[in-house]
Amino acid sequence: MTPAAPQPQRWAKPGVVAVVLVVLASAPLFLAPFATSTVSRILVFGLLAVSLDLLVGISGLPSLGHAAYFGVGAYAAGWVSINVTSAIPVPLLVGAVAGALGAALTGWITVRAHGVFFLMLTLAIGELLHQLAHTWEPVTGGANGMAGIPPARVGDQPLVVSGYVHWYVLAAFAVGVAVVLVVSRSPFGLALRGIRDNEPRMRALGYPTRVYKYAVFVFAGSIAGMAGALLAAQQRLVTPADVGFATAALALLAVVIGGVGTLWGPVIGAALVILIRDAIGPGLDGHGTLVLGLVFIAVVYVLPRGFGGLVSRRHR
């Protein structure tokens, strides 16, 4: 192992990756359309969770407002799809750029803060953007959400069947996760881990840590924005709830259940969260939130390092 590379992870095993991708890609072939779209939603949410883990787990920046950039990306991609074009990859790129812009405009304040201040600021900013989504009706559609987003198109061919949409989501998910993994293993990624472990020491070594934190904040915002664009394409409706604190909290829950800092764990966490919300929730008269709240409390006490923590502990 070279000194620069992180500990070998399961993702590093190309065989496992290939099998997982093949299984995911063949989901539409053996699942009903509704189940397929649930898997798509898991992937969308999983990409959001992975981008959040880059902040929380790799860089030590526990954001409570990450859904804001997810929402900004979703609204921007939706707006472009309605008003300009829904041809792939335009909405995806617009979503990524919008997420990055949103993070760039707000991140310069958050990265100045430490500890509990960072939590509070990200929460406040996320919530303010949520309110903006509510009040800026001409663009966002207000409380009813942005409806009537046309299906994504490949050339002139609209993707209407859930299977095709799933493949589009899967492809973008794979690209997004790959980019995050690449960055996390780069020299920049090692520097982020250094900042997470000991920021004053990084400064003493000559790293301008605030610039690094800002860079990763914006980068994670762009990945979240990309996930938002996928949401717009998959759900074809964007509501203020997608921007809100509840979404940010669920993404955080996915990260923590899956294992902070593992990057692959949050995808599994996202699957659990979405299954509880969409599959178990309806059976409880829509009170899946109650179950999720209990899961939150249980995870903190019982599984502080998530499932990923269990795996890596066994490997040490």
């Binding site: 192992m1 070279t2 000194p3 620069a4 590379a5 690449v182 960055v183 293993r185 780069s186 020299p187 920049f188 090692l190 520097a191 881990r193 250094g194 997470r196 472990d197 000991n198 004053p200 020491r201 990084m202 400064r203 003493a204 070594l205 000559g206 790293y207 301008p208």
Partner: protein, 243 residues
Amino acid sequence: MTLTCHGLRRRFGALTAVDDVSLSVTAGARHALIGPNGAGKSTLFKLITGLLRSDSGRVSLAGQDVTTASEVRRCRLGISQAMQHASLFPTLSAAENVTLAVRRHEGRISWMPRRQPSIHARTDEVLDQVGLADRGRVQVGALSHGERKQLEVALALACRPKLLLLDEPAAGMSAAERAGLVALIAGLPAEITVLFVEHDLDVVFELADTVTVLNLGRVLLSGDPAAVRASDEVRQAYLGGAR
């Protein structure tokens, strides 16, 4: 690289931790800073590295005034410090710790993973220099106390310092580790100026060519080791401090 401090003063509330300290460290010196606890040694270090700002006075490096320069900027100019209490990256391996320092100094912090043989070679070289050649893959959390202090020195050396500040490098080390450390510092090339704080006077008199004694924030005496060893004033400050 020469270091000149002129009339440095720093207060914390009613306490004047560093009081009108002037200090001149010549290029290539092995300069020791001694004094009882609370003499202001660590505060003086922080004023030199830029972690703290002085209330008055000036600091210059190689003739260049850096009184208001940031920590990052001073680091770029060639100051590097090994902290008193090892301040490392606990979840990273020893080699990754050193790599962070090496890469900041002579690599590019790119967003893409890349093979950088020169960085790896330099990392191995530094680890070898401090005697941690076979511990590179161990997580810092699993290193012994002495090994962490060695790694701390490695991080400082990895920046190819022109001025190396060592804050009690030998504290908490075993006799064997201490002997290794003394040999390491003694063997550093003359381009590296060394300023160190140390309580172990054997280490001080073995290494130092100049000794400055601080007491209650002021310079008590500065001179060659023999003169300092002979001084009544120093003996009194030390014994007084111990009593």
